[in-house]
Subunit: 464 residues, 2 copies
């Protein structure tokens, strides 16, 4: 039946993508005795992982115990399920939380990742359980992973784009079609076929920057909506898997960052001000009305949806006391013009073309809620150290959501094997990281993405 | 390349499914001169369409004008977009609303469907725009469609199950694999190949009864959750399209009916009491706490999610005055034991194992809201003709959501052509009705499903 395939290369395991999930999978697969190759379409490793802050969540760690923080797998499970609106796949969520501590310890023991001596809490977590590497960047973890990959002699083929999955007549994965010497700008390269004896691990990331793909699932997310992701966060590998009958899970669950500025590209510097100062201590107004319209401490989905519904960027406002109290250095955001300072509320109102009297009234009403400790309008939880917005200079930032994370992706089981729509495994196909769907349900909590990458990276590498 | 295919049959157009979308498509295709065959896996026509109440929504009709009802395509568009949380595909939604009146008039002029002389409003519509056929059943429309199909001499092959789509090397649809003499219980039949000169129209309905398929997208919807659909509302035709690279849209958007009873199968008799009496004039309590927990007039999604979160069926309560005032005959629900009557609140509490004092207090609190016209706890809009719950007998019904409608499905364009994940058409493949995704976004409004079936049934039949 048909002519023999001309293979250009042969390996046990082909890994697609060199972010945290792919590199972790490669290390585990190699250490369990398999011959591994990693392909990466760009010229350097790291994908979106490298632009993250590197925070990883895990329950029951020594760092928590040292600080007397009571935590458990069940508590993390419940937090993620609550954020996910109960739509998380229970078996995958359980796999992530029960392997989270092991994943974090593996980054310490096997990789020697240096972490800051602190345990942080982010929105939606019920206790501090987030560990941040030195430099507050995923680059710190990436460097250690690449060192290990290098030590083990695992080749990374850069500028190599994955195009399609080859299967035999029984549907078993036999290899992949790739483009070598891939030119990202022209989407061209030299075709080659890599034969895989054990299979392929897809660790190609999300589709946050793939406008046609994401807007099929959420038509609001057309080209007018930016993304915090790198522009190469596209869906071609996911499409390739779907086209051989892999099942998609919850592709329409796409997370928007409400802390984003339309006045800078990518993740940028605004989110530090918005997420760490403004949402806790400040307020957001619609410049067309001069009034508040949302609980600033709602979850990412609530805030982003509310801002989108106004139809235009909204204005976040905080005062000097809160900025100083927070201790965060927002000078970069100010230098870039993303956060602006004003000597008075009148100046701020004039700059954003708002009615001063209305804005003053909105601030006064909000300050009243701060003083009595309850927000009658939007039920924002008033934090203990909140203070009224009253001390100049006033800080303001335009807010307009950006696509941040795609919860949807491929259907997998607890062993990281890709499934079809009937729940059967696609033989020889594994997936890990953001390309997988179902772990986070409707909404992902901060610092749980890296946990997922390491957990399923390890599992896929061990099992393939 | 390979041996010649042995075709058992040849037509211009193969239509899969004999509900409203499929029959409408067949009539239009035939009337535009094409040779058409309809296949239906069951022994009779109608699918889920026949169990609906037959209500169809359209703006700007004569029936509205006669009653002085101001309506427009824009108003219907906005209502559906609001219910859909802005996630509706704008081009498909526009196509539905701008062809809705024409579709309704076609059922009058071409089919002679008899409608009741009334215009109804259902939750989420801003004005009355829903027309109900005589008998308050989709069966009335079905009969007229079947008469027309018969007049035109279009064959319906019953007990014929669609299995897969055949394409040529360029990906053009060339025909379908079917099972004739299909036995639904054993899922077996006699394989046959039908060649299609122009293509295939998929009108196979939703996946509300397909537990494995739906629970991949919403893991809460396992086998413990019933459906109002017929048990044959499964996804095999949708899967067949996905496997030749058709794009899925919003598969995780699955609508639950909050007005369902766990004490009867299918749609049943409880919803009449719940949706038309209880939600307006009564209250829902969690039997474990004896307290209210939701706005009874929230949209389907809000109410169903809230009931699901309690983890157990909840109790809806209304009093005799409201039941009598509503004018609805709920005797069937009472005879079936789905709605129960009690001489006193004490009896009701005892039957459902609730603390009487707590329940009395909850009713008292709710009655206070009715009297002052505002619900401080859950912001239920208190209708003008609301009255306190105080007159025996008291009516109660257990509520537990059932899967009602699947908003997700295949990606199509305004011409009803199926698209892939890059937005390209799959040549020769069309889809209409519930198998299509994107028209309704996050949530479908009542009586808009039949509008969609007729609109895209007509468009697909005309265009193929």
């Amino acid at each position: 039946m048909g002519k023999e395939i001309q293979w250009n290369d042969q390996v046990d395991v082909l890994i697609v993508g060199s972010g945290f999930a792919g590199l972790t999978a490669a290390i585990e697969a190699c250490e369990s005795g398999k011959d591994v190759v990693i392909i990466e379409k760009m010229k350097r490793a790291g994908g979106n992982s490298v632009i993250s802050d590197g925070g990883i969540a895990a329950p029951g760690t020594k760092l928590q115990k040292k600080r007397g923080i009571e935590d458990s797998e069940k508590m993390m499970y419940d937090d993620m399920l609550k954020a996910g609106l109960g739509l998380n796949h229970p078996n995958l969520l359980r796999t992530v939380v029960s392997n989270a501590r092991g994943a974090f310890e593996w980054t310490l023991d096997a990789l020697d990742v240096p972490y800051l001596d602190r345990v942080d809490i982010f929105g939606g977590h019920s206790v501090p359980r987030c560990y941040t590497p030195e430099g507050v960047t995923g680059g710190t973890i990436l460097k250690k992973l690449l060192q290990k990959v290098d030590e083990l002699g695992i080749p990374i083929l850069y500028s190599t784009s994955f195009r399609s999955i080859m299967t035999d007549e029984q549907g078993h994965v036999t290899g992949g079609n790739v483009l070598k010497e891939y030119d990202y700008k022209t989407d061209t390269g030299i075709p080659a076929k890599i034969k895989t004896k054990r299979g392929i691990i897809l660790a190609s990331g999300g589709y946050g920057a793939d406008v046609p793909f994401r807007s099929i699932q959420d038509p609001r997310l057309d080209e007018t909506i930016q993304t915090t992701n790198k522009p190469f966060a596209t869906a071609e590998v996911l499409r390739a898997a779907l086209s051989i009958n892999a099942a998609s899970v919850q592709l329409s669950h796409i997370q928007l960052g409400a802390w984003s500025s339309p006045d800078e590209h990518g993740f940028g510097h605004g989110p530090l001000f918005a997420d760490y100062i403004l949402f806790q201590y400040g307020m957001i107004v619609d410049p067309h009305t001069g009034e508040r319209f949302v609980n600033e401490l709602g979850d990412r989905k609530q805030s982003a949806d509310a801002i989108l519904r106004t139809g235009h960027p909204c204005i976040g406002i905080a005062d000097d006391r809160s900025v100083k109290y927070s201790g965060w250095d927002i000078s970069k955001a100010i230098r870039k013009g993303v956060v602006r300072t004003f000597d008075s509320v009148d100046d701020l109102a004039a700059f954003y073309d708002m009615n001063t009297a209305v804005l003053q009234a909105s601030i006064g009403r909000y300050n009243g809620f701060v003083q009595k400790g309850t927000d009658d309008d939007f039920q924002k939880p008033i934090v203990d150290d909140a203070s009224p917005i009253e001390n100049a200079p006033f800080y303001a930032m335009r807010l307009w959501p950006k696509v941040h994370f795609t919860m949807g992706g491929l259907s997998i089981n607890e062993r990281s094997q890709v499934l079809d729509f009937s729940g059967n495994t696609v033989d020889g196909l594994y997936a890990a990281g953001e390309v997988v769907g179902g772990v986070h349900g409707a909404s992902r909590l901060g610092s749980c993405a890296i946990t997922e990458c390491i957990v399923f990276g390890r599992i896929s590498g061990q099992n393939i």
